[in-house]
Every structure is written in structure tokens, then in C-alpha cells.
């Protein structure tokens, strides 16, 4: 450090950037940041590592307490919240001037950063859920690959369940995750919310269809009605063949390799959809890099974002962290192309959609989970659970309805 500042000359013209990153990413990015500093001797970057479990609270309280970084990593479902706080700098012009563009990325993930037509974040790495399955159990049931439509998929699950017997299942869908019912809803064409995201649309026919499909998997015994705690050790049970399929994310590719016996034949596949492959969408996850509106060194901060977005930085970051790169060019790297388990992810990432991009979504997701659990346990019929869900969601969105209505009236007065 002393050496670095020694060659940097006068310290008065040096800029210090504050960069907040989470968990493992915050740890490994230090290495890339050092090379960035070598390239830009006048810029020093302090990486502050925040544990994932407290990241959301910390970022929000820090902003309210008027202490913010220049650049931060944000989970891309949080972007709308920080945009609502007016804490982020729109990046459209900056991105336009450099080579960072939607076409070079996975469109669905890119879109999670676009709030009300403005771009607020640049995807850093991506993440989505695909179907992990046991090749041997599927084959024994008479299938060489996962059928691409819901009907075919259900038939395959029925065949697996017939062979598996009482205590074994076709698929594990943890009852304590909202992601599965949300994915099925999006697949069957529901937007989850309606009227500019100001009302719940869970009673609408598309979501109702998805909900029936989802509940049917439990009712017919294809999926055990238990949560993550109930299954105790997912890896052990998957190896034992307690269930043959599991919808989960890229983090489990490494876990499966480390924890399952090498003889366990497993593979990944993009999710089936109600009308075949094209409708088999999944959630657009990942993290974005954002620029704070109040940053005093926006030019340098943008340089850092650009540096981390380069193809070679993306490949290196992916090797260090195990995350999937956001730039499609980085996927041509041999380690990703050559990994059969990751191919399904690349296909799936071309078919991802964001969950509603509003600050209230996280709370709505917890309500979706509560009502789904009720319906799975049989504590309420599906239509009652969905009606309760829409009522709850409409309550949560009351403020948003008022804001949208006010915007409209203002626009109306201005037009006159």
C-alpha cells in the first residue's frame, strides 16, 4: 500500500472510491479491484464487505443515515426499492456511451434494472433456477429427458411416483419458498400484479391455473408437503432417491458435486412450461452494480463498473466466485461452455422474467408463501387462499395506488 501511494505522486489529486459488496463476492472482488487500481493509479478503491444476511438492512439504514458508498452491489430485486428512495443515478447515458448494452446481456436480467423506463443498475452476475434431476430415476420411469410441457412433465412425475412407492417422491418443492408458486404463475402468463402493479392478480385465471398445477403436485403425492427443515439434508435425500427432481439455483451445482457420491447420475434441465419450452420461464436473479446519486466521484465510479463489466473481468470473477457471468460473451469461456450442468442455465437465462419491480414485492412474496402453505396443508381451499392473498396484497399496495393515481392526475393537469 505504501509503495502504491509512493508512485501515485501527490495525494491531493487521488480519488478514493467506496465500494460495498456482499459476502463471497465482496471477498473475491478485492483481487480485481487491485488490478483496476494498477490501471488507474489515481483511484483508490476501498471494498467494504457486508454479510448477505444483514446487507439489505444495512444498505437502507446507511442511506437514511446519509452515509453511502460510491458503488454498491445490489441484489437485483432490491433495485426498485433504492430507486424509490431516489438514491441511485440513472445509467442510460453512461451505458449508451460504452459497450454495455441489453443485447450483450440476458435481456430478462437486464430488465430487472429498468424501473419506470430508466436504467439503474448494470448486471454483475446472474442467477436463476432450473430443474436438477436424477437421470437414472427418470430413465427407469421410461424417460430419456425431461418433457418440455407441463402435461408431459406431470406424466413423467406420475411414472416416477408409481415406481418410487409410498415414502419416495418425484419432486421436492420446499413449502417454505415462494419462488416455486411465483415461477409457475409467471409461466402460465400471470403478471402476479395488475393495473401498473397496484393490485394483486392472484385470483385471475392465469395464476389460478398455475396454483392448481402447483397444489396438484402435493395432492397427488408427487411432492412431499414439507419445508427445507422437514427434509433435513437435501443432498443426502437426493442421493438416496427420496426425490428425483429439485428446482434450485447455480449455487447447488458446486454443492451437488462436493456432497453427492460421484456415482450419483444427476443433470440439469431448463424448466418445462405449460405450452412447452418457450413458456418455461424462470426468475431473473443475480446482482447488479449501482452508482449512488450523491457520489462525488461518478466518473471514476463508472470506470470501476465498466472495468468489472469487461469480458475478461467477468470470466475471472466467475472463476473466483463461482457466479455466472452477466455478459454473454463471457459464457464462451471454456470452463462454462464445457460444463454440462451449466448448459441448462445458459438456455434458461434466455427465458427469465423479473418479479414485479416495486419496493413492496418482498413483503408480497412472504404473503404468497403464507397463503400457499395454507392451501397445501388444506387449511383453506385454493380460491379462499387466493382471495385472502389478493386482499392482503391490495392492502399492502394502497399507498402505491395513491401514488400512481396522483401521478396520473398531475400528468392530466399538465396536458391540459
Amino acid at each position: 500500500m505504501a509503495l502504491l501511494s509512493g508512485c501515485a505522486g501527490g495525494s491531493h489529486d487521488r480519488v478514493t472510491l467506496r465500494f460495498w459488496a456482499m459476502g463471497r463476492e465482496g471477498e473475491v472482488v478485492q483481487e480485481l479491484v487491485r488490478d483496476f487500481e494498477r490501471e488507474n493509479p489515481k483511484v483508490r478503491v476501498i471494498v467494504q464487505q457486508i454479510p448477505w444476511s444483514s446487507a439489505h438492512e444495512k444498505l437502507l439504514t446507511a442511506y437514511v443515515g446519509r452515509s453511502w458508498p460510491d458503488v454498491a452491489q445490489l441484489g437485483n430485486t432490491w433495485v426498485s426499492e433504492f430507486a424509490a428512495l431516489k438514491s441511485l443515478e440513472p445509467l442510460d447515458t453512461l451505458a449508451h456511451q460504452s459497450l454495455i448494452a441489453r443485447d450483450a446481456d440476458f435481456g430478462g436480467v437486464w430488465d430487472t434494472n429498468v424501473i419506470d423506463g430508466k436504467l439503474y443498475g448494470i448486471p454483475w452476475y446472474v442467477d436463476t433456477r432450473v430443474l436438477f434431476y436424477r437421470r437414472d430415476l427418470l430413465k427407469a420411469a421410461g424417460y430419456d429427458s425431461i418433457p418440455q410441457s407441463w402435461d408431459g412433465w406431470r406424466a413423467a412425475m406420475a411414472a416416477i411416483k408409481r415406481r418410487a412407492g409410498q415414502d419416495r417422491y418425484a419432486i421436492f418443492l420446499p413449502t417454505n419458498e415462494w419462488n416455486q408458486p411465483a415461477i409457475f404463475g409467471l409461466q402460465s402468463g400471470s403478471t402476479l400484479l395488475a393495473d401498473d402493479d397496484t393490485r394483486g392478480d392472484f385470483e385471475g385465471p392465469p395464476f389460478r391455473r398455475a396454483f392448481d398445477f402447483y397444489l396438484g403436485l402435493y395432492r397427488d403425492g408427487y411432492a412431499p408437503p414439507v419445508n427445507n427443515v422437514g427434509i433435513a439434508n437435501v443432498y443426502q435425500e437426493f442421493e438416496r432417491g427420496t426425490f428425483a427432481m429439485y428446482i434450485t439455483g447455480p449455487w447447488n451445482v458446486g454443492e451437488f458435486r462436493n456432497r453427492l457420491a460421484p456415482t450419483t447420475p444427476w443433470a440439469t434441465a431448463p424448466l418445462p412450461g405449460p405450452q412447452g419450452a418457450a413458456s418455461g420461464v424462470s426468475l431473473a436473479g443475480g446482482s447488479s452494480l449501482v452508482l449512488y446519486r450523491e457520489s462525488k466521484h461518478k466518473a471514476e465510479a463508472w470506470k470501476l463498473i465498466e472495468y468489472l463489466s469487461r469480458t475478461e473481468s467477468q470470466v475471472r470473477f466467475s472463476h473466483l466466485s463461482g457466479d455466472l457471468p452477466a455478459r454473454r460473451a463471457a459464457w464462451r469461456d471454456s470452463s462454462l461452455v464445457g460444463d454440462p450442468a451449466l448448459r441448462a442455465f445458459e438456455t434458461q437465462l434466455t427465458r427469465v422474467v423479473p418479479t414485479p419491480k416495486i419496493p413492496e414485492w418482498e413483503e408480497i412474496a412472504t404473503r404468497l408463501l403464507e397463503q400457499s402453505e395454507r392451501a397445501i396443508r388444506g387449511a383453506a381451499p385454493p380460491e379462499t387462499a387466493l382471495a385472502a392473498l389478493d386482499r392482503d396484497v391490495n392492502n399492502i399496495l394502497e399507498k402505491r395506488r395513491w401514488l400512481v393515481e396522483r401521478e396520473r392526475q398531475r400528468a392530466g393537469t399538465a396536458a391540459r
Binding site: E57, L60, E81, A84, K86, E363, K399, R400, W402, L403
Partner: protein, 297 residues
């Protein structure tokens, strides 16, 4: 013109209390009034971004709160904690104080330090250790129970056992402070009373009931009230150990307030919860004072 002595003294008195009153006004009344105002608005994440979106909503936050089953669950949990954990904490600290005060105990200062240690240890470090103790498979507690043939208990994962587990931790963590206060109380009881009772033929139990307990009455009231006030504000233990789960079994009023305020950013609702908690605690304190006064009569 000549001021009377009384007038000058009164003025001096006012000057003397002025700094303290100013501090209380600035750091107590202003925030309290601010909180009250906040509780009749819908101040939320949108309002943090642009304050003009905050609206006056009257008592809607309070009405929503009373209609929310999670709030009643939190009230029940908090009362459970206060009425089981509070007396337990007072009792344990009294017993510890009596044991240390008794002449039979050697090296009382060491015991005093040992018992006081949990009070000054950071909660997060304590919580990590207790999580190990409570671990259903590898925990020391279940290991001990296993020696008596009792099957393992999922302390933090079972809705029925989570609150007892939190109470146990909280009592262990807080009794040291109350013990010190009780010790001070015990030392202030004049030795002559015991000697006189001894000469009159009172036995150990009689001396305890008729001298020690009445002598400790004011201290006990103080300890009971401060413990109750502290326990009503239970937050850190469940926040660190269980995050309010399982099935909201350890969600307390303050934890709910924190969730509303800092997880969902409904500051108005969080302020309303704070006021309801304030009213509950005020009622608790008044009842306790009343009961003690009646008894004194």
C-alpha cells in the same frame, strides 16, 4: 427594589434545574412527540425518498395494528416472557444474592464476578454459544437430558420450546445485575436486628421472613419494576437466536416494531407499535406501584 429571599431562591432553583430540564425536553419530549406525530402518518419508504408523499392517516395505523393477528401473537409472546421470565429472573437473583451473602460462602467476590459476567458479555457472542448449547443433535443441553433418558428437544426449532429457550438465556444473562442490587439491599439491613431476633429465639426461617424480606421490600420493588420494563422490551435475544420464529413463536412487540420499521419501512406503523408498548408498560408500572403501596398500608 428588593427581592425577597424566597423569590431569589426560587429563581436560583429554576436556574439549577434548567440544564437538566432542557436536556430532558430535547432528548425525551421532542422525540416522543415526533414519534406520536409519526404514528398518525403513513411514513414509509416512498416518504423517505420524497417526504411530500407522507399522508396524515389519523388512527388507521392503530386500527390496522389491533386487527393484525401477528400483533396479538406478539403481545401474547411478550406477556409470556414478562410473566414467566420476570419472576424467574428476580427469584434466581435473590437466591444468588442470599447465597453469596451467607457466611458459609467462601470467596464471595469471585462468585459475584462470575455471576455478573454474563451481564457485560456481548449478546451476539453469548447467542452463538447458546445456539450450540441448544443444538438438537450436538447440544450440551440435550446431551445432559439424554443422560436422564429424556429424548432430544429441538429447542429453537419447536414452537413450544423456543420461548422457554429464550427465557432461559435471558434469565441467565440478566440475573447478575439484579443480584448485585439485592446484595446491596442485604448489606443495608442492620446486623443488630438479626442479633435481637436471635436472642428472642427466632430461627433461620423466621429471621428470613420477618427481617430479610421486609428489609428487602423497597429493593425488590425496584428490581421488579426495572426487570419488567426491561423484559417488555425483549428484542435482541430472539432477533439473534430465532429471528422471531418458528411460526412467530418468539416474535415480541419490539421485534414486530423493528420488522415493520426496518424491514418493511413502515415507520408510521412502527411508531404506533411503540406507543402501544409504552401504554402497556405504563399500565404495568402503575399496577405494580399500586399493589406495593396497598401492601405497605
Amino acid at each position: 427594589m428588593k427581592e425577597s429571599i424566597e423569590a431569589r431562591q426560587a429563581r436560583a432553583g429554576r436556574l439549577f434545574v434548567a440544564p437538566a430540564l432542557t436536556l430532558i425536553a430535547v432528548f425525551f419530549f421532542v422525540p416522543v412527540i415526533g414519534g406520536l406525530v409519526l404514528s398518525v402518518t403513513d411514513f414509509d419508504i416512498y416518504a423517505i425518498g420524497s417526504p411530500d408523499t407522507a399522508r396524515f392517516v389519523g388512527l388507521r395505523n392503530y386500527a390496522d395494528l389491533l386487527a393484525n393477528p401477528v400483533f396479538w401473537k406478539a403481545v401474547w409472546n411478550t406477556f409470556y416472557f414478562v410473566f414467566v421470565g420476570g419472576p424467574l429472573s428476580v427469584l434466581v437473583s435473590l437466591v444468588a444474592a442470599l447465597a453469596i451473602h451467607s457466611r458459609l460462602t467462601r470467596l464471595p467476590s469471585i462468585w459475584r464476578t462470575v455471576y455478573f459476567l454474563p451481564v457485560v458479555t456481548t449478546l451476539v457472542a453469548v447467542a452463538v454459544i447458546w445456539r450450540y448449547l441448544y443444538h438438537p443433535r450436538y447440544g450440551l443441553l440435550n446431551y445432559g437430558l439424554g443422560a436422564f433418558g429424556i429424548p432430544p428437544i429441538d429447542w429453537l426449532g419447536d414452537p413450544h420450546w423456543a420461548m422457554p429457550a429464550v427465557i432461559l438465556l435471558a434469565v441467565w444473562r440478566t440475573f447478575g445485575l439484579n443480584m448485585l442490587i439485592f446484595l446491596a439491599g442485604l448489606q443495608s439491613i442492620p446486623e443488630e436486628l438479626y442479633e435481637a431476633a436471635h436472642l428472642d429465639g427466632a430461627n433461620d426461617w423466621g429471621r428470613f421472613v420477618h427481617i430479610t424480606l421486609p428489609g428487602l421490600a423497597p429493593v425488590t420493588l425496584f428490581v421488579a419494576i426495572t426487570t419488567m420494563l426491561g423484559f417488555f422490551q425483549l428484542f435482541a435475544e430472539p432477533y439473534v437466536m430465532t429471528q422471531g420464529g418458528p411460526l412467530k413463536a418468539t416474535t415480541t412487540i419490539v421485534l414486530l416494531m423493528y420488522e415493520q420499521g426496518f424491514r418493511w419501512w413502515r415507520m408510521g406503523m412502527a411508531a404506533a407499535i411503540a406507543f402501544v408498548l409504552f401504554l402497556i408498560m405504563l399500565a404495568g408500572t402503575l399496577i405494580q406501584l399500586r399493589v406495593t403501596r396497598e401492601r405497605a398500608r
